[in-house]
Amino acid sequence: MQIYLPIAEVSVNAFLLLGLGGMVGILSGMFGVGGGFLMTPLLFFIGIPPAVAVATEANQIVASSFSGVLAHFRRKTVDLRMGTVLLIGGLIGAALGVAIFNYLKSLGQVDLLIRLSYVVFLGIIGSLMFVESLNALRKSAKGAPVPTRRKHNWVHNLPFKMKFRTSGLYISVIPPALVGVFVGILSAIMGVGGGFIMVPAMIYLLGMPTKVVVGTSLFQIIFVTAFTTLLHATTNFTVDMVLAVLLLVGGVVGAQFGAQLGARLKAEQLRILLAALVLVVCGKLALDLLLMPSNLYSIGTGGH
């Protein structure tokens, strides 16, 4: 069934969009990532103009994250306190990120920079997680007790300590706020929610339990992407409501399934799957940069 999208001004298959939304929704509920780093390139691929794809994707992430976070609220796996600290950092970071983005734009080649940062960050995070969770999995398979991650590193010697009861942490607010700022900057530049950076940062840097990480990440993503949606809608008029509805109907249903699937998997398995996914996307983007494109020419709308 073909549907004409009023803002994107293209006609697309409605079932294809429902399917894509569902697939990304499952990943969202399972791993606590918004799925923007997967969905946005997919939307480009089916012919949605990039500006519309980025803006509408932000709107869809709001829906699937909200659906996912409710499931996590019921299981009490959302650390609201930690989420708020991360969010405050995130909004500051997003504002900084927009400024950096505009500066890079004035230098030209911002597209290349976005792609390169995708490859670099996805590559580093993906391989680190993959190796770490593979080791953890191997140790638990041998029957040896899984060593608890270091609970005391430099992170725990900073001032402004705060109790994060849900995460079982008593740490300074400085590291989570900095993580928020850093993710905010990256998400503004790369046009994603930032879950795929946030999740590993919470696990490895802050030492939060994996089960709490997913819900908390989703909680924070809702606000960042809602902010982004409004920004795009009011400045560029690029949010396509019809496209968003089709994507989010699939997305919210998928997120529910994803949250259930995630609850059944072990933390190590969950991490290794996310790592594999991140590496696949990274590999695809790297190949795009390295292999000769089938058509060297491309059309962009508008002048400079």
Binding site: P6, V62, V252, S298, T301, H304
Partner: protein, 251 residues
């Protein structure tokens, strides 16, 4: 002086011998939610007030042209092992849609000068002036633009698609694709003899979003904050509904 010149010209030129009279099966295309392209039947006749010199055969060209817009064509090159956009040529105005239907091969029936004057072929319908100094082969960029647009059928060359009966009645069909832009689509008719345009006329197809499409488009542009908040509301409501439904199913 000017009047004298005009009179002389009128005396020298023969009276218009052939005229084109044409119409469309529909001059309005409504883009609805399930819009999946539209086919326009274009037909007409050649009106003759007096006998004409018919040693050269008559040919008919019909063009349909969507709203023009500036575009940038970029070319990738390998820099330090990776493919990067290195060169770009700006096109001042290229139609978002262009179809040219003819009774025969365009280059055979139309002279280069007439093509230049009336901008009939796809190449001439695209307006590009100048290229940046670092680009020496701007025609390649224009050709690439045309190739890409021909590929996705927003540009169409329909040679031989116009049926001409007894050098009087003609008809053709132009398929407007599903990915149609809103706007006025200029439809032009040319009568050609011996490479020269004998007569031409023009009409317009109005392509407009209607119903929900119109409503959303207007809201997005006139009340952007409302539109953004509404989008967020839908997202939150959908997320909550899905969650509630799933909780209900499980309990």
């Amino acid at each position: 002086m000017l009047r004298l010149v005009l009179m002389l010209i009128l005396l020298v030129l023969p009276a218009q011998a052939e005229e084109v009279v044409a119409d469309l099966s529909q001059d309005r295309v409504a883009i609805t939610t399930n819009f999946d392209g539209s086919e326009i039947l274009i037909f007409g006749a050649v009106k003759r007030e007096q006998a004409v010199d018919d040693t050269a055969p008559l040919d008919v060209i019909v063009t349909v042209s969507g709203p023009s817009e500036p575009m940038t064509v970029r070319r990738k090159d390998r820099v330090a092992g990776i493919w990067v956009n290195t060169a770009a040529v700006e096109v001042d105005a290229a139609p978002s849609f262009y179809a040219v239907a003819t009774t025969g091969p365009l280059t055979d029936i139309l002279s280069e000068t007439e093509d230049l004057r009336h901008h009939i072929s796809i190449n001439r319908a695209i307006r590009a002036v100048g290229a940046p100094e670092d680009v020496t082969d701007s025609p390649n960029f224009i050709q690439a633009l045309i190739d890409i647009k021909l590929e996705d059928e927003t540009y169409q060359t329909l040679e031989g698609a116009v049926e001409l009966t007894d050098e009087t009645l003609f008809s053709t069909r132009v398929a407007l694709p599903a990915n149609l832009r809103e706007g006025e689509y200029a439809t032009r008719f040319f009568l050609i003899r011996d490479g020269d345009v004998v007569d031409n006329s023009e009409t317009t197809i109005f392509v407009q979003k209607v119903g929900l499409e119109r409503l959303l488009y207007n809201l997005a542009h006139q009340q952007p904050l409302m539109y953004g908040l509404l989008s967020l509301f839908i997202a939150i409501a959908a997320g909550w509904t899905a969650s509630a439904v799933f909780t209900y199913i499980r309990s």
